[in-house]
Symmetry: C2
Subunit: 333 residues, 2 copies
């Protein structure tokens, strides 16, 4: 059983995979890209993954058959386990918890080699619908406090399989960064009685130097204090705290249109970079709060992160966000 352990100095939980400890020689020998002979995410290989928990199929198709267009399956090598009861205990100064949670893989397409940026907007919308459905289903389990949705694209960005996919982890705790952001939003709200993200959007619209793209419902900006070159945030224009509460028909189509545009601009400007995105949302329990505003943070993996950035939370960004905005804005896709 994996363990959740808490750093006693700062409130930081770590998943320690006690079962699958890697032998040191494994790290030393690991090739930069892992190639698998048979892709476990391709149609026809459904038996290589645990049974699907969500699927998009044509009407009348048989469950388990390979004619799906999107599937969600439990991760075969999960960081956390779904079975068991939460058990929080102290060991002297330290705290630990059973590694209870869920770890799922969203297979975005049946076509090996197709990327999210290649897909038509309605299929990208389908990916957001899948995130929402899985999130809402998992939130019924009272052991879970937070559902984290993210995508690693490319081996440099941490993807261990080529086939386009994203991941979802259900956690029995709220991650530190989420609490910090919600807390930061609350401090501002107490002072101003306004949402800080809504104020950021207003100021960005006025300055108009860091807006990369927008449609009727969503806006994509290069954040003022971007940590990474070409970092992009996508925010709903209308205040909304929780991602999974968005209307899946109208809103997710608009969201998919913005994400797709940004990814296609990255392909052109940055030569198809590896990237990560993370959906930052308030915990589902905080539906309706005025002080947090969900958004997606996208980070192309262009620079090597030096150790002091991991260790200090302090970043050096060689590309001003205004310059990144100009490159991305002006590129025709």
């Amino acid at each position: 059983m994996p363990e959740l352990r808490k750093d006693p100095i700062i409130d930081r939980w770590v998943i320690i995979s006690t079962e699958r400890g890697k032998r040191p020689v494994f790290f030393a020998e690991e090739a930069p890209t892992t190639k698998v002979a048979v892709c476990p995410l391709c149609p026809g290989n459904e038996n290589m993954t645990p049974p699907e928990v969500y699927v998009v199929r044509p009407p009348g198709s048989t469950p388990g058959s390979p004619d799906w267009s999107l599937r969600v399956v439990p991760n075969k090598f999960p960081a956390l386990r779904i079975e068991g009861t939460l058990n929080r205990e102290g060991i002297g100064i330290y705290d630990k918890m059973n590694g209870i949670g869920a770890h799922e893989v969203i297979v975005e397409t049946p076509n090996h080699g197709e990327t999210l940026s290649d897909m038509p907007v309605d299929r990208v919308q389908g990916v957001f619908v899948a995130y929402r459905e899985r999130t809402r289903d998992l939130m019924r389990d009272t052991r879970f406090k937070y559902i984290m949705v993210f995508k690693n694209s490319g081996s440099v960005a941490g993807a261990s399989l080529d086939h386009a996919h994203s991941q979802l982890i259900a956690l029995p705790i709220v991650p530190r960064r989420v609490s910090e952001e919600v807390g930061g939003g609350l401090a501002y709200y107490k002072y101003k009685e306004r949402c800080i993200f809504c104020d950021i959007i207003a100021q960005e619209k006025e300055e108009n130097t860091r807006i990369v793209y927008e449609n009727e419902r969503y806006i994509a900006i290069s954040p003022y204090a971007s940590r990474f070159p070409f970092e992009t945030w996508i925010l709903p224009k209308r205040h909304s705290a929780v991602f999974s509460e968005e209307d899946p028909v109208d809103n997710y189509y608009s969201l998919a249109e913005v994400l797709s545009t940004i990814l296609r601009k990255y392909v052109k400007v940055l030569n198809n970079p590896p990237y990560n995105y993370i959906i930052h949302t308030a915990p589902a329990a905080s539906i309706g709060i005025g002080h947090y505003h969900w958004h997606i943070e996208i980070i192309p993996r262009l620079t090597k992160m030096a150790g002091f950035e991991w260790g200090t939370g302090f970043y050096i960004n060689p590309t001003p966000p205004e310059e990144a905005t100009t490159y991305l804005r002006e590129t025709e896709i």
Copy 2:
């Protein structure tokens, strides 16, 4: 002039190098390892760096001549500039500051190809003495609030030059992570009236499953909630808040002996991995506080960091620290 910009949501400062914005094509074309024809850190090439600010030479040697054994020079491409006055201003919701600071390179050896783990302990001690001297000198400049010392070893770890070196950045702000750690220590101190790090050392000595190595004055542990496989912390056994206040003769020799041992064990167990270390210390202004305990965090770069770890501050570690300890402990060097 570079800028320091603050994220308005969480208290996170970022250095934006407004002058040397990298063109997108640069990222796309960048080779994994940068090889330079002539090493600017080698003896005889002193004219390729700014003039030295600290040097170790045999008695009677001429300044500027190539018979040094250690040198500190300003970074030729500094992230921050030493000249100018601090100027903090608001732009609507945002905050910025002139990028005033210092950025120096500690050239640890004259011998190209020699690593810190190859060097005899007294020369590693000399590196710590250099950190201390530069820190104490820079702290006389009242514009600086924090001196950050770190090392990137290997291209994967962010080093842009092969020649063994570490870096020092003097900042006009205290980085977020430092405040968080000091704050975490204070919360514990208020409750227990004891240093949390001293309590960690006591518990580790009792459990004796995560102590990698120790000598009379310093102890090296695999931290209980290690974020990374084979992460190691080195702490002074006697309570001490500020790195640069240690006695440079006795203490730094003992410290160098522990660091050298850990690095040599890494070479054996992990096949000479790229790594980073960062000196975590209270700001020099907090000499004598009871609630913080300086230490060095060493992170071998074995795993690819996935985006959600950057984005959430939440880590998955595939190697239990107890297992890492066993491997490191049992390896003869």
